[in-house]
């Protein structure tokens, strides 16, 4: 499965994932403390510059990544325009763009493996409390592996529906898709147990 990491290699890729995550979390938190539209505009320009340092195409890619956000930006702007308070509307919209843009930057420049390692490292103190974290790593790998498998089987179900009915596939498919997931789970669990379970390396 394709992750959302950018295919453009950037200097940010070499930064440790933990540093990037800490910087972005702090940055987004700060953005919600700022009220001034001027400062928020500066934040948007700053985030845009962080993309632009890599190159023009990377900035375009980043803007494209913001696509799901535009509907909210539009709602906020129209809302505040009608309410007669366009300045607040602009501030909220700018804050959204800056915060999401900043967070996307981590996603675009960090490999999935590095983030997975970071998560397992963050969870490692749990081991000392007697909670085993190995199954979490297994479970993450299983989701990555089985989402495309399940999606493929759902696709087959949709096709066989289309071959037999003039109506569009609908809610009737939820049940067979869920049964497929359960059957796959029982089979995989059995196979895992037969191979020694979680006490072996994934």
């Amino acid at each position: 499965m394709l992750a959302l990491t950018s295919s453009t290699r950037t200097a940010y890729h070499r930064w440790p994932a933990s540093l990037k995550l800490a910087l972005v979390s702090g940055g987004v938190f700060l953005l919600y403390l700022i009220e001034s539209p001027v400062l928020l505009l500066a934040a948007v320009v700053g985030v845009a510059l962080a993309y632009l340092v890599v190159g023009w195409r990377f900035l375009v890619e980043g803007v494209r990544f913001l696509r799901p956000l535009w509907v909210f930006v539009a709602i906020v702007l129209v809302w505040h325009l009608i309410a007669g308070d366009p300045v607040t509307g602009v501030a909220v919209a700018l804050r959204l763009v800056a915060a999401v843009g900043l967070a996307n930057l981590v996603t675009m420049t960090t490999r999935l493996d590095d983030l997975t390692d970071l998560v397992l490292w963050l969870l490692s103190p749990l081991e000392r409390l007697g909670i085993r974290t190995a199954p979490i790593g297994y479970a993450m790998a299983l989701v990555v592996r089985f989402t495309p498998v399940l999606l493929g089987k759902a696709g087959t179900l949709i096709e066989s529906w289309r071959a037999r009915s003039a109506r569009r596939p609908g809610w009737q498919l939820v049940m067979p898709i869920t049964v497929t997931a359960i059957d796959d789970a029982e089979q995989v669990a059995e196979a895992l147990r037969a191979r020694g379970g979680f006490d072996t390396q994934p």
């Binding site: 809302w79 996307n104 993450m140 399940l150 999606l151 898709i177 895992l192």
Partner: protein, 181 residues
């Protein structure tokens, strides 16, 4: 241990698949995906604890940048965007849905699951979702509620569907409906 973990993982994958399959319309022309149906099913089928773990696993992978959310979205940006409240509410919704099914053993599975999906997947989820919108969009609670209200009819259908699917699963795969195991 292995069986629980794999079931949790496969239900996390199920949430993703229900959000990603194209053109499954749930009637009435409301543009809704079945993603939150997956969240409801996690609770009503797997129960409170395992169900919420499945949702947390799903969210973890979304945060790490896998495009598992409806429309192929993913990444940390989602956790800074206006719909963040719904994401935070997802595991709580599954937990409450599962808890209701678990704690009402004298109620038949069908009404218990519909009730669970309704209270957890709509009541609790919208509480979080609306709060998230109110904060990120700088709106009051009622104003934010107004923004999400168009999606409620679709979610009512999903809650009913979650109940029927759970009851049907209890017949087809009784050993796997852990909320009543």
């Amino acid at each position: 241990m292995e069986r629980n973990t794999v079931l949790i993982a496969l239900f996390a994958a199920l949430i993703a698949v229900l959000g990603l399959i194209p053109k499954i319309t749930l009637g009435f022309g409301v543009p809704i995906t079945a993603q939150s149906l997956g969240v409801m099913l996690c609770g009503t089928v797997l129960g409170a604890r395992r169900g919420s773990l499945a949702v947390l696993l799903f969210l973890l992978l979304v945060a790490l940048g896998l495009p598992l959310l409806a429309g192929g979205r993913g990444g940390l940006g989602l956790f800074a965007s206006p719909t963040v409240g719904f994401l935070v509410g997802f595991p709580v919704a599954a937990f409450v849905a599962g808890l209701i099914v678990e704690k009402t053993p004298r109620l038949a599975l069908l009404p218990a699951s519909i009730l669970g999906a309704f209270v957890g997947g709509i009541g609790v989820l919208y509480l979080f979702g609306i709060a998230g919108m109110a904060i990120t969009l700088d709106k009051s609670f009622p104003e934010a509620a107004l923004l999400v209200s168009p999606f409620i009819p679709g979610d009512l259908i999903k809650a009913a569907l979650a109940g029927f699917v759970t009851a049907a699963l209890a017949k087809a795969r009784p050993a796997s409906v852990l909320s009543r195991a």
